[in-house]
């Protein structure tokens, strides 16, 4: 199959429809407005519903209602909109209702800006975002193709674990065009037994809590542990003999990969990890790193360094007997391959102090 040129937004919309999404609720917000426009045109043709919602706060509830009936539901928004959605995503965990959110970050707080790339919502998406004990699977793809592939399997994962899936991308991945292959349309899925159909059944797993709290808590822990065990995804290279490993996700992960390849060609013992899921965090990748590793370099595009503690924790869990240093590079601007190399050089020569 030949590759086609697709704008990110359009590709995700088409992919969602092919993956079986039959209810979309959205509210216009750059950079995902075009996605909504495409869905509004094409989803009704596929027999689905596109609801132009009154605000973002109500969207997850519309999705929860639809997903409770077994429909693959989808929404998308940008940073200020997803903040409004967190309440509904937290409430979805009450009934363990699965749905998918494509979150295109802006850089910065409040309305944010659209001029650059940003990774400023890492902390919130990884932590879950709302109140209560829950997590969402968070994918952080680095290319339009990867995002399409992730979105294509999102509903299957969401329904398997009864959990929301968040696709966590930067602004660029929505606006940019890339040559991609779109997957074929899936046949219709069978609705799970637990979903609403009008007949009385125990829909609320919390009801079990009233009868047998320990069983409920155990079931919840098993479910989340299964996600942590099975759904860690990452891309990594040159870990076996690496003195230093650079960790970055999203598009910066691509830049780091290129820089590491260049540095390897120049004889440097450096490796890279690009987390593809940021929750669950790819601990298994850190376990594969050489036990003689001298340090990890965490690189991200935000002002406060949101991922550095996850890198430090994973480094610690992989090397429990000693303290592996973590050097954090973070600033609210894109960095180039040259800057990656320069940062590595400063770390290697002891000119950069370890933060964690």
């Amino acid at each position: 199959m030949t590759k086609e040129l697709w704008k990110g937004d359009y590709a995700y919309a088409e992919c969602a429809i092919r993956a079986g999404c039959r209810l979309f609720a959205g509210y216009p917000i750059t950079p995902t407005t075009e996605l909504m426009e495409y869905v509004a045109t094409h989803l009704p043709q596929a027999g689905g519903h596109c609801i132009i919602a009154e605000n973002e706060a109500n969207i997850p509830y519309i999705l929860n209602g639809a997903a409770a009936c077994g429909t693959y539901a989808f929404t998308t928004s940008s940073a200020p909109g997803t903040t409004l959605m967190q309440e509904g995503i937290a409430w979805a965990s009450k009934y363990d209702i699965p749905a998918v959110l494509l979150h295109s970050q802006r850089y910065g707080g409040a309305t944010g800006t659209l001029h650059g790339e940003g990774q400023t919502d890492y902390k919130r998406d990884v932590a879950g975002g709302g109140h209560g004990d829950y997590h969402t699977i968070v994918f952080a793809p680095a290319s339009v193709q990867e995002c399409v592939d992730m979105l294509y399997i999102s509903w299957e994962l969401a329904y398997k674990y009864r959990i929301w899936v968040v696709i966590h991308v930067g602004r660029s991945l929505c606006h940019m065009y890339e040559a991609i292959e779109l997957p074929p349309a899936k046949s219709t899925h069978t609705k799970p037994e637990w979903c609403l159909n009008g007949k009385y059944h125990l829909f609320d797993p919390m009801c079990e809590l009233l009868d047998d709290p320990t069983a409920y808590v155990k079931a919840q822990q098993e479910r989340y542990n299964a996600v942590i065990d099975n759904e860690q995804r990452w891309e990594a290279g040159y870990l076996e003999d690496a003195d230093y490993v650079i960790v970055a996700y999203g598009i910066p992960g691509r830049v780091v990969k290129k820089a590491v390849q260049d540095m390897r060609a120049a004889g440097e013992k450096v490796g890279f990890i690009r987390p593809v899921t940021i929750w669950p965090y790819p601990q298994k990748a850190f376990d594969m790193v050489s036990k003689k590793v001298k340090g990890f370099l965490s690189m991200e595009i935000n002002d406060l360094g949101q991922m550095k503690k996850d890198v430090a924790l994973s480094a610690k869990l992989a090397n429990r007997d000693r303290n592996v240093l973590v050097y954090a590079f973070y600033r609210g601007e894109y960095f180039s391959t040259e800057e990656v190399k320069e940062f590595y050089g400063r770390v290697k020569n002891g000119q950069f102090e370890a933060e964690l």
Binding site: H115, E117, H175, I251, R254, T337
Partner: protein, 182 residues
């Protein structure tokens, strides 16, 4: 070797369309492409730029955003002043002399060509196709794609976008640019 062409100017000048059509031409030639538009909140009149990267044979383009363009199509003074520092050494710059002037001595490492692209566009139909005038000239100067292949793909691009009425005028503009002599 990754090639990179940057269209820059105001929103409404065809910056995004020009770069996207460029990406279309590349992908039809079997290359790997990324296109990254950047624009402000204004629908018309704000600073806009759009960067197309392509590589043959297909391979991974690591960084999809603008790095160091080989060609800059600058439709405003601001576009040149803003992007000059990131251009490759000896990069080709096609500057719109209908809307401003430039001081060649400030840019010793660039090959800057002043082109009255609005006037050229106007002479073949509309000044709005200045972006295609520049694209035609860029293809001539770089030799990346043949004239016939580009013309065929420009037609295909506008058909795919259901904007058939724009085909003729833009091909005339492309040719006018391609055949422009200094």
């Amino acid at each position: 070797m990754i090639k990179e062409i940057l269209f820059s100017g105001f929103g409404g000048q065809g910056i995004v369309t020009g770069a996207l059509c460029m990406a279309h031409i590349c992908i039809q030639d079997g290359m790997d492409v990324t296109n990254m538009p950047q624009y402000g909140a204004e629908q018309r009149g704000g600073a806009a730029s759009s960067d197309t990267k392509f590589v043959a044979p297909p391979g991974e383009i690591y960084d999809p955003r603008m790095e160091h363009p080989d060609v800059l199509i600058a439709l405003t003074e601001h576009a040149l002043a803003h992007h000059a520092k990131v251009l490759k050494k000896d990069a080709i710059v096609l500057f719109n002399t209908d809307m401003g002037t430039y001081d060649p001595s400030k840019y010793p490492n660039l090959k800057i060509y002043g082109v009255p692209c609005l006037a050229i566009g106007d002479s073949v139909g509309t000044s709005k196709s200045a972006n295609f005038v520049m694209m035609g000239l860029a293809m001539k100067l770089t030799g990346w794609f043949t004239r016939d292949f580009c013309v065929e793909q420009i037609e295909g691009y506008f058909r795919q976008e259901h904007r058939e009425k724009l085909i003729d005028v833009n091909i005339r503009a492309f040719d006018a640019g391609y055949n422009y002599t200094f």
